[in-house]
């Protein structure tokens, strides 16, 4: 396996078309029996100072890509998965748009689902990305993960 971390970052929202495309690319891999997909969508949450209209993402990109690389390697070592694809937005993503896309494929459902969950949790906890929630009135709050 190549040691160079793959880029996961996409400028702006992740196009919904990417989901179908990702699935179609795996139709020739007939050892796959299951795909698990997680999508994060920007919520129009109500804050004290206003309603979230968009999130602006920034990252410590080099460290983030190294960290995602480690997570990928750990997941491939732990689960018999065939493929793992991870995308995260940078810059502005409007409410209702997709900002995070994790896609895992495996012969059987359990591995695909468990691997997908683990990637989602680890990326939220371990990858240096920050969301600034814009309130559409020049105000903003810094997103907090739970």
């Amino acid at each position: 396996m190549e040691r160079k971390p793959k880029n996961i970052f996409i400028q702006g929202a992740i196009p919904a078309e990417k989901i179908t495309e990702s699935v179609q690319k795996h139709a020739t891999q007939t050892d796959i029996g299951a795909h698990a997909i997680f999508l994060g969508q920007v919520r129009a949450d109500t804050k004290d100072e206003g309603v979230v209209t968009a999130i602006e993402y920034t990252a410590y990109e080099e460290m983030a890509l190294e960290k995602v690389f480690d997570i990928r390697e750990a997941v491939f070592a732990k689960y018999p998965v065939t493929c793992v694809h991870i995308y995260h937005s940078l810059g502005q993503v409007d409410a209702g748009e997709i900002c995070f896309f994790v896609f895992t494929s495996a012969p059987h459902r359990r591995e695909a689902i468990d691997a997908c969950n683990e990637i989602v949790e680890r990326i939220k906890a371990e990858v240096p990305v920050w969301g600034r929630e814009l309130l559409g009135n020049d105000k903003h709050v810094w997103k907090k993960n739970t």
């Binding site: 995070f100 989602v120 240096p128 990305v129 969301g131 600034r132 993960n145």
Partner: protein, 80 residues
């Protein structure tokens, strides 16, 4: 005595509060000395939670700083 400078990257709310994404600071012996220096220059950092990374590795204890290392101040992550 050490000469030269460190480059410090700041992210998220820390970059916002200091108005700086990258700081050039005098060479420091270790991370404790660096954070003391930062709090003195940027009192607005007081009370904001962050972790340090040295060469992209999170550090949790005082760590010596060699010239050329990359130091980053990371507020709690909120990706996803």
């Amino acid at each position: 005595m050490k000469t030269g400078f460190h480059t410090i990257k700041m992210f998220g709310i820390l970059a916002e509060k200091t108005g700086q994404h990258v700081l050039t600071v005098p060479l420091m012996a270790d991370t404790d000395q660096l954070t003391a220096w930062l709090f003195e220059r940027y009192p607005q950092l007081e009370g904001i939670k962050f972790t340090l990374a040295v060469n992209k590795q999170l550090i949790h204890n005082n760590t010596p700083l060699d010239e050329g290392v990359e130091v980053a101040l990371l507020p709690p992550y909120s990706g996803g």
